[in-house]
């Protein structure tokens, strides 16, 4: 069964830009929704500039690694690229709302994978700090998958899991 996209409350039926693993999406169009589906240990970072209305979403997979293709696979090397692209689109990170979701431990008993989600969240906060930025709101950790949807018109971040929908 595929959950229709976008399923979340507030969906307008307008265009949807999807960030796959290691990808980022940016828009100035208030009708375009930015979505990352099925986050487990991956982390979605969302920036929304209330002045320029530029919205951006990055779908990070791992805490650290070389700058590579896809561009935001790794938090440490991908964040500068993400911020650069956000500025190029007209957004200012320092006046933006910064939110993150994901970083779950889906297979909590599997030693090699249990810490990836936690480390992703920690790496994200550390990397933002290096740029003089911080998370304003977050929904990180837990043991459930998440789909996130950023609304450029309002900056609302809707988060859906199998059992609930919440708003940041």
């Amino acid at each position: 069964m595929v959950l229709a996209a976008p399923l979340l409350p507030g969906a307008t039926g307008g265009p949807v830009l999807v960030a796959g693993i290691g990808e980022m999406v940016i828009t100035r169009d208030p009708a375009t929704l930015l979505v990352a589906y099925g986050l487990g240990s991956c982390v979605a970072l969302c920036l929304w500039d209330p002045q320029s209305k530029v919205a951006a979403l990055a779908h990070f997979m791992l805490p650290s690694g070389p700058l590579n293709s896809p561009p935001v696979k790794f938090v440490d090397s991908g964040l500068p690229t993400f911020l650069t692209e956000f500025r190029r689109a007209g957004g200012q990170p320092r006046r933006s709302e910064i939110k993150a979701a994901g970083g779950a431990a889906m297979l909590a008993v599997v030693a090699t994978t249990m810490e990836i989600g936690k480390h992703n969240g920690e790496a994200l906060q550390a990397a933002l700090g290096q740029h003089g930025l911080r998370l304003h709101k977050q929904d990180l950790g837990g043991k459930a998958g998440r789909t996130v949807q950023l609304e450029p018109a309002t900056g609302r971040l809707l988060i859906k899991s199998v059992s609930s929908v919440s708003v940041l």
Partner: protein, 209 residues
Amino acid sequence: MHAPAITPAAEYALERTFERAMAAAGRALAEMSGQEIQIVATEVTRTTSRHIIESAGGAETLVVGVYLGITGSLTGHAMLVLQPSGARRLAAMLLDGFAVPTPVSPDSLEFDEMEISALQEVGNVTIGAFLNEVARHMLEPVHPTVPIAIADMAGAILDGVLADLTMDSDELLAAHTSFINDGDTIEGAVLVMPQRASLQALTAALGAA
């Protein structure tokens, strides 16, 4: 960038290995349940982390995954992936006469303990059969870890496992698998995700490096 570890010859050898393993797993499940159960590996493909989530129906598709780690002379991850309705029918097939089915929608992600236990056993038998077949060629033990069944979005279930592999390899094996019982066919996929060195050792052992 690594060269692909899975050559066409290796892919052919892996197909035959999956076929033998699933036939053996079907016999084991039939003996266990007292029912006529056949498991057929209909197609074995080499794929990448990006495509494996797409082939599961997309990152937000709700699935049941039975995860087992691979240890011993090979290391990596393996997972049996089923649609929720198929997982429920498969569990009912194995539990026939031993448990009262929970009255829920076929697509519900709520599974009781008996159903979870049955699905974990299916994962154990199918993936264990593949690893046994591989170990026969490698002449060294290959062990599955204790199975874990989880129901959630496909992307969420798989991304942690893929993240563990991604620095090392981006080649996976996917066997489309059919569980056939009394006219009912339940489609699933057996995913084998070895570390790169293990994938090379595996194909070498199968005589297809």
